[in-house]
Symmetry: C2
């Protein structure tokens, strides 16, 4: 009984070993050097043990994808939690989204890259709902009673997300040094505020 138990435990240890080593590599060397063979080398196991934990390379990517969305949802909740007024919540979430994208840009790249490997797997991520729920709640709270009929929260949520993602990804094209330079007080933040401002205005009036 305890033998299969220990084996289970050991197996999961190797699993996290794989994920940790993979993430370490992605952070230090970027996505191009994400490779099964390098992971195997790093954890000092042979290649096939990785295939006994994950069906293929994409399965590992999916894991990080889900983790990324979980993280994003957490940040949204945290950003909201301090604020009382819905408009302030939305503003805080927008800035938190921006921060998330640039401080965890390896995640962001994976989550939203139109890159080839992740497109088909995107539908397999239930964690996306956490983000959606957090944003929708604030949008509904912001909508004045008189405008409930003409404001579709889900539609506004998509607008919100689109604006943010567009802003982020356009600012990500270019190298990293520039991005960090534009992170605080630069043109990008002015655009962010501009966009959020007109978004909120579009709901309340």
């Amino acid at each position: 009984m305890s033998i299969t138990d220990r084996r289970q435990r050991q197996k999961e240890e190797v699993r996290t070993l794989i994920l940790d080593a993979a993430w370490e590599m992605v952070v230090t060397e970027g996505w191009p050097s994400f490779s099964i063979r390098k992971i195997a080398d790093a954890i000092e196991y042979s290649v096939p043990v990785i295939y006994s934990h994950f069906e293929n390379k994409d399965a590992i990517l999916l894991e990080f994808n889900r983790k990324g969305f979980r993280l994003l949802a957490e940040r949204m909740e945290k950003a909201k939690s301090g604020k009382e007024y819905p408009a302030a919540q939305i503003d805080a979430m927008a800035h938190a989204y921006w921060d998330f994208a640039f401080t965890n840009y390896q995640y962001y790249q994976l989550m939203f890259g139109l890159g080839i490997p992740t497109c088909e797997t995107a539908r397999k991520i239930p964690e996306m709902n956490g983000f959606k729920d957090a944003v929708c709640a604030s949008i509904e709270a912001l909508t004045p009673a008189g405008r409930k009929a003409s404001v579709d929260p889900f539609l506004k949520y998509q607008s919100f997300w689109s604006m943010l993602h567009g802003l982020v990804s356009i600012n990500m094209v270019g190298n990293i040094v520039e991005k960090q330079a534009s992170e605080h007080g630069g043109l990008a933040e002015m655009v962010l505020n501009d966009v959020i401002g007109s978004f909120i205005k579009g709901i309340v009036s």
Copy 2:
């Protein structure tokens, strides 16, 4: 004199042969099967002749990237050309942008994917200016005389682009059949109209 001339001509023929074969492959089989070896096979030349026309794989991608931006700029100009009022021009460009993204989504994927290979090369694309100029012109025309001081056209241009790109790329995650279904009259178009509406409102008032 005419000998080197003919050679020049033949060399360029092979060059376009390469680009045509490559594009054919990307369209029919997607970016994952974009490979130097397959191109060589398709044009019935050996691999090194491709390297005599392009420094490496990324150079070919850069070529398509520039072509994509040229195409996008053309579409913007064409969309504007029919409309008299700046607001109508912006609306038309937004819809043209949307159409461009989904009818040429192989281009769009290359141009804006946060995918790894194209990020560093993005700065090498002068064709991006055509798009920028088309949009900025309409924004400036739309800005009321009394608001010229408080509306930065370049900032608004970035907002415009961000919103559009965000909308497009969020709708691109998922498979292609869904996208085409949502192309006309669906939720996505409502979001598009919503977003453009509040963008225009944010400039004129």
